[in-house]
Amino acid sequence: MPRMTMIEAIRDAMDVSMAADPAVVVFGEDVGYFGGVFRCTAGLQKKYGPSRCFDAPISESGIVGAGIGMAAYGLKPVVEIQFADYVYPAYDQIVSEAARLRYRSAGEFTCPMVIRMPTGGGIFGGQTHSQSPEALFTHVTGLKVVVPSNPQDAKGLLIAAIEDPDPVVFLEPKRLYNGPFDGWHDRPVTAWKTHAQSEVAEGHYSVALGQAAVRREGRAVTILAYGTMVHVALAGAEAAGVDAEVIDLRTLLPLDLEAIVTSVRKTGRCLVLHEATLTSGFGAELAALVQAECFYHLEAPVRRVAGWDTPYPHVHEWIYFPGPERVARALTELVEEA
């Protein structure tokens, strides 16, 4: 099987979809001739022409709003927001329009659109190239929210998202674009090429939305993570030498609650991880659900390890980023508790 980086897998997903369905169009800032600042759309304009893959003005609201109109017409727009930190100007179009069309019109008008955006930190991008806004979308019913953690999933989930009849916010952990990242920033980075999950099947396949995956089986504690934090979870479990079960949520909305409950009822302990700031992050919803569904199985309170409640800093990136040490410490305390 060919091996791909996350970027190549994402590009391949769009390529396969555009080849299969003329309704699929791709646009966003710098995505046309140049192929995107992260090169995710490189070659698509050449292959499918400028009216199916083109540069958009720097207007996130315009990109999403125009995309909604296109989706209502019958196209399947796959738009790119250059960084998740820049999605806010489009927030009204996403929340008030994309997420509501079907409901408002009783199914007469719908919005089969994918909104792709690089998310998360780890690249010294400072405040405006590092944010993880997923919880701002999981609170919005009518949306689906996806965060892949590896090339295999990225391609399959993106194809599923493009084929989904409803709007999907597709968050791409930029720190994983070129290689898996376990949070040990001071250790040599391994390229995807040497990683099992970079084996990406050719052509069309999809990974169903709403299904989590167990990345590591364990009995002592369940770690709930997504995106970059899946790799950090594995590294943290290693470091702590704890028999942790690591669940990669993959889709946050709708959530695979069953997979979560099954695991936590088995382990009796739960650690929730995310890069986003702690307060009102998606970890809050996970903790709330787990304590409600697994109360009588829990031997310790659900714990959250997340980004501190500060804007994302520049120089102190590695103090801010919830790395393997913090995860390991939390795991150790969690398994020792009670």
């Binding site: 199916r52 207007s59 609201s61 125009a66 109109g69 209502a72 008030s96 409901y103 709708p254 609650l257």
Partner: protein
């Protein structure tokens, strides 16, 4: 330093105010109104730069004597029955509005918004489009449905949120939706759809289709950010869209000057984007239709977008929640120099011997009977608080194409 330099006068904030407030005498003498028939009609493929003048005048067809004059009238030349139909649509919309206003006062629904004085705009524009084209209307373009032959009963079911409502009682009254009638589901959020109209038109162009779209927005809402995004995208990709700005002089209690600022007109906004921008007498059914035909032709011929500003006046309150006498003189409406669209078209038809006071009174009675009958039928199903209403189960449907587990659980918890 400058900020303490005594030779420099201190700055002060300018806050635009309308010419009159309650108690004052309405005065529209400041509003320059060209005589009907005097404004030129350029070819649809004329260079936008060459038409800048049309953004600062008012295209008018019907003159004081009810005659249709000038180049726009000549280009139009509608058959008689089309004119009679137009009058009927405006009358129907007005009577429908009146009935629904009353129904709201009788608490048969929560809310309503009427078109009083603005009927010509949506009724005439609707006739310029072809099947398959798509409007992205605001809450004040029900004339698009009426003139498109959408059943009154459907509209009433939506207003009453009763069991006949195709939207299952989810939407506030008047936020209709009908794809077959080229009427996009109306949003409660202003300006968002002006931009979506551009995207829809782009999609038609991308698909090598022949359909065009029409965006609708009010004078006040042009201040919203999405208005800009719409013009940027329309200008850059030459989207086949007609960008309609309905300037009825008022937002809610805020007069047009607050949104318009220093520009003399709203049409002027289009010039900053190299988009042809026309201003038209919105109370002149023929002028509206003539300009709509022109703009639709441009879009259809792939010549790109057109901005149209309809100069009109909101004769009623903003909505049933609003009392305009609190912020503008009650006499202002009567003083409005462009008159009433129904009266003006009626006068034209009478002048042409196609219509008479008698037939008008008779038509009014017929239409009222028709509306009343439809209303009876609708109310037989139910109103907001009485009769048959949509099933609570519907409340959980259509959030997604397929109901996800968590929503199904919630529906069960709710007991439906």
């Amino acid at each position: 330093m400058a900020d303490s330099d005594p030779r420099i006068a201190p700055l002060s904030l300018t806050v635009p105010e309308p010419a009159v407030r309650p108690g004052g005498q309405p005065d529209f003498s400041g509003v320059p109104i060209p005589r009907a028939g005097t404004v030129r009609r350029p070819a649809v493929d004329e260079e936008p730069e060459a038409m800048r003048d049309l953004a600062f005048t008012i295209i008018r067809v019907l003159n004081r004597d009810g005659a249709a004059v000038g180049p726009w009238a000549e280009a139009l030349a509608l058959p008689d029955d089309e004119l009679l139909t137009g009058l009927r649509h405006m009358m129907l919309l007005r009577i429908y509005d009146a009935r629904m206003m009353t129904a709201q006062r009788q608490q048969k629904t929560s809310f309503y918004m009427q078109h009083l004085g603005e009927e010509a705009i949506s009724c005439a524009f609707a006739r310029a489009l072809s099947p398959g084209d798509m409007n992205f209307p605001t809450y004040r373009q029900a004339g698009l449905l009426i003139a498109g032959g959408y059943p009154l009963s459907e509209m009433m079911h939506q207003v009453y949120s009763n069991d006949g409502d195709r939207l299952r009682g989810r939407q506030l009254p008047v936020l209709y939706s009908s794809k077959p009638h080229g009427f996009f589901t109306v949003s409660g959020n202003l300006a968002t759809q002006f931009l979506q109209a551009v995207g829809w038109g782009m999609a038609s162009a991308i698909s090598g289709d022949r359909k065009i779209s029409a965006g609708w927005i009010g004078d006040g809402s042009t201040a919203e950010s999405d208005f800009h995004a719409a013009l940027v995208f329309a200008s850059t990709y030459k989207a086949p869209v007609v960008l309609n700005i309905v300037n009825n002089q008022w937002a809610i209690s805020t007069f047009q000057g607050i949104a318009r600022g220093g520009a003399g007109t709203f049409a002027a906004r289009g010039l900053g984007f190299g988009i042809p921008a026309l201003r038209v007498d919105g109370n002149d059914y023929l002028a509206v239709r003539a300009v709509a035909d022109w703009a639709v032709a441009r879009a259809r011929a792939n010549l790109g977008p057109t901005v149209v500003e309809y100069v009109t006046y909101r004769a009623g309150g903003h909505s049933t929640s609003d009392d305009p006498n609190a912020y503008r003189p009650a006499e202002e409406s009567a003083a409005w120099p462009l008159g009433d669209p129904v009266v003006r078209l009626k006068a034209h038809l009478i002048a042409r011997g196609l219509w008479s006071e008698e037939r008008h009174a008779q038509a009014e009675a017929e239409i009222l009977a028709e509306v009343t009958a439809a209303q009876k039928a609708a109310e037989a199903i139910g109103t907001l608080h009485t009769g048959r209403r949509p099933s609570p189960r519907d409340m959980f449907e259509d959030v997604y194409a397929q109901m996800p587990p968590h929503l199904r659980r919630q529906r069960q918890e709710a007991g439906f």
